[in-house]
Symmetry: C2
Subunit: 192 residues, 2 copies
C-alpha cells in the first residue's frame, strides 16, 4: 500500500499482440465489428480480462491503427476498458493526443464490441475520432450486470453536435453472445 510513483506500464496480452500483427485492413463496418468482437471473445476464452474489444481504424482505408481489450482485472486498473486502451495505443501510434484530421492527414474511427460506458464516451469526446461503431447495446451489458454509468440520450446528442457519428447495432448478436459467454462462465463482474 505504499505510495509508488514509478512509471505505470500497460501491456497488451501476448495473444493480442500476435493477432494484430497479421491483421490486414478491415474495409467494411461489418469487418471492423467482426474484428473487435473476435478480440472480446478471445479475451474471455483466454481469461485475460472482461468481455469487451475495441479498435481504432483509419476511417477511409480501414487500416488497423491500434487495438484494445478490457484489462481491468489483470492490470488492477479500472480505467483500462477496451476503448480507452485502443485510443491510448492509437494516439501513441500517430504521435498525437488527437486522432482528428486535421492535424492528421486522415480521419479515424473507433469500433467497440459494446456501447461505450460513461468513461469511454468521455474518452471518445477527447480522442479526435469522428465516428463510433457499436456492437452490443448498453442494455445488453446491463443485462449481465455491468453498470455502464451516467450515459443518457443527450450524452450522444452532445457528441453528435460536435461532429462525432454513431452507428450502433452492428453484429449485435455476435457481440451480445460474448457477454453471455462471460456470464455463463461466471466470471466476476467489477462495478465500482
Amino acid at each position: 500500500m505504499s505510495l509508488c510513483t514509478d512509471p505505470l506500464h500497460i501491456a497488451l496480452p501476448e495473444w493480442l499482440v500476435l493477432l494484430v500483427a497479421s491483421q490486414g485492413p478491415c474495409v467494411s463496418d461489418r469487418e471492423r465489428m467482426q474484428f473487435v468482437v473476435q478480440l472480446a471473445a478471445e479475451n474471455v476464452e483466454r481469461g485475460t480480462g472482461g468481455p469487451f474489444g475495441a479498435a481504432v481504424f483509419d476511417e477511409t482505408t480501414g487500416r488497423l491503427v491500434a487495438a484494445g481489450v478490457n484489462l481491468v482485472e489483470p492490470a488492477n486498473n479500472a480505467a483500462l476498458h477496451a476503448e480507452v486502451v485502443a485510443l491510448m495505443f492509437a494516439q501513441r501510434a500517430v504521435g498525437s493526443f488527437t486522432l482528428s484530421s486535421p492535424p492528421l492527414a486522415t480521419a479515424h474511427m473507433l469500433a467497440t464490441s459494446c456501447a461505450p460506458c460513461a468513461m469511454c464516451l468521455g474518452a471518445v469526446h477527447w480522442s479526435g475520432v469522428t465516428r463510433v461503431l457499436i456492437g452490443a447495446s448498453r442494455e445488453d451489458a446491463t443485462a449481465i450486470g455491468f453498470d455502464e454509468g451516467p450515459v443518457f440520450p443527450e450524452s450522444l446528442r452532445y457528441l453528435e453536435a460536435r461532429g462525432i457519428r454513431f452507428t450502433d447495432g452492428v453484429e449485435r448478436e455476435a457481440a451480445r453472445a460474448v457477454l453471455q459467454r462471460f456470464c455463463d462462465l461466471k466470471r466476476p463482474l467489477y462495478n465500482g
Copy 2:
C-alpha cells in the same frame, strides 16, 4: 504511424515524484484541495501539462495514496487527465482495480482541482472512491475554452445514488486562478 503493440509507459513528471515523496497526510478538505491546486499550478509553471491536479487520499487518515496531473500533451494521450492518472496510480498502489471498502480496509476519496469532465466522472464511477472533492467548476473550465463533455446534473445524481458524495467549491478561487494563469500564458487548449 506503424502499429505498435509494445507496452505503454505512463511516467509522472520528476517534480511530482519528488513533491509527493515528502508529502504528509492532509487531514482537512481544505488541505487536500490546497495540495491538488499546488499540483495544478506546478504543472503549468513547469510546462509539464494542463492546468489540472488530482490526488487520492485515504478518506479517514488523509494519507496520500497517489497523485496525478494532466499529461495529455507531453504524453500524447488524451485520457491522461489528472483524475485518471491519480486513480490509475492509486489502484496500482492498493493492488486492486477498486478503491472501495470493502474489499479494502479503508475508504478512499478523490480530490481534483477542477470539476471532472465526462470521462473523469465515468472513471470515478468505476474507481471505488466514495467521495469527490472539487475546486474550480465546470463553468470555470469552460470559461477558458475547455469543453468538458456530456456532464449533466443527472450525471452527478446518478453517481450520488450509488453512494458517491460530491463536495464542490473548495478553494475555488485558487483553483480558478491556475486555469486563468494557463490561459494568460497562452498555452494551447486541446479539445477533441
